[in-house]
Symmetry: none
Subunit: 145 residues, 4 copies
């Protein structure tokens, strides 16, 4: 009888490849953003802030990655349902202040299993998410199970 449950997490090579993609994406778009990648336990593996990026974006990118792991969904998934009067109202205030419903955090799935998440922050949430999703795909992950 097994006493453990297996988990797979995004590895260093993928994290470093993702950073290179992020840096070239920022250069191409002329944007100064922050980037973070978390493992399946929500622990950050790598984070990075472009020179000139908003200082706050560094923490926010990490919180987006953490939230995407913690709730196994893109952070934007709760944008509607977490507004006052809707069923998830209040969820953006949880996890000791680390939860966020700002777009830009996307979970990473491989063969339907959660292996980590990417968080991007520093510009419009929709663009942050577009970049995070594009990087996820380029390193061979899906953002849905």
């Amino acid at each position: 009888m097994s006493i453990t449950v297996p988990t797979d997490s995004i590895n260093n090579e993928s994290a470093v490849a993702a950073l290179a993609l992020f840096r070239s994406e920022c250069a191409t778009r002329g944007l100064a953003l922050s980037f973070a990648i978390a493992d399946a336990g929500g622990n950050i593996v790598l984070s990075y802030r472009t020179d000139g990026a908003q200082l706050g974006s560094y923490q926010l990118a990490q919180d987006k990655a953490y939230t995407a792991v913690a709730f196994q969904n893109p952070t934007s998934a709760w944008a509607e349902s977490s507004t006052p009067g809707n069923p998830d109202w209040g969820i953006a205030l949880t996890l000791g202040g680390r939860a966020t419903v700002v777009a830009g955090g996307v979970p990473l799935f491989v063969s339907g299993k959660l292996v980590g998440a990417i968080g991007v922050s520093g510009t419009k949430g929709t663009i942050d998410e577009e970049i995070a999703t594009s990087i996820a795909s380029q390193i061979g992950c899906e953002v849905r199970p």
Copy 2:
């Protein structure tokens, strides 16, 4: 003249029984959720995360139990009144970030006295609350005074 005030809290046997009920509820429904039970002082007695549950649900289940003790009501009680412009606006932001109005936290009463609370998290708030309420009843508690 008495110099003390008596408190009754849910005991270990009830907490462990509640955990067993919770585990069988999760198995029956095919859901991976988190569970917490707090005493009358709002301090958690037992908490548990099902393999595969959202990581964030572990903290959230505890915060739901804590809030239900702290405000002596189901967490869902404030869902409407805590929205902007309503009388309890802001309550979801209190208690150092531990307060939550997401459904799934229910207080436990015995003979009209608060003895603790149960928090369930990880799926829709209405189902979390339904499970918490059902467990409360099965261990012999009411969720109203």
Copy 3:
């Protein structure tokens, strides 16, 4: 080329078995203690406080389990080296206040791989550790790689 790194974590059945062992250990010894079990990512899977245990022991058991995962060693490993003037002086003050060098946290290894940790708190550190180590062994884990 693999894009992930595998991790195994202690599973729910083992966590629940460990809780039962802990409860019977407390009963046999006539001690009121707290217990926590963390996965390989340092996230708590189950925690429990015996009626009458020191309230602080609940948090401390979790911090011991977390530290044992975070530093891949029993918390007692740093008891000497972290004293003033020794090479790890200051380590007990790190991890945002969650690190502890108080005995009672032991890592769990299976086939040389870290799969989680157990923390016990509430009595002398040496006894806390003895209980944690005994439970680890009974659920089929080693406390060294």
Copy 4:
């Protein structure tokens, strides 16, 4: 009359070069460590955790880098003077828990001006510091003013 004060900080290219040096240093030595680099404002620019490194080393590497900027000295500089009864007793407890006197944090100077710091964590403090110092030198910085 000038109304500003100039600051120079380590830039992205240097941070990424330092990461590459760190990764090759870990591979050569067969060590799994964590790395962080802070700017002159003490804000982290890049941090990274090797697969298999102690989870706690990730936070510790950042705190080492932060402390080295905050006090403009290697973190090891206070190892003696911060012990009880000595002049800097208590310094390891400051900065909201982020200060650390564990070796492995080194400030980065260019032409005598502080431009940031490197933190390395995960093995003996003396080796952490040796690696941090070596990387500092290879990216063209001094670790003393």
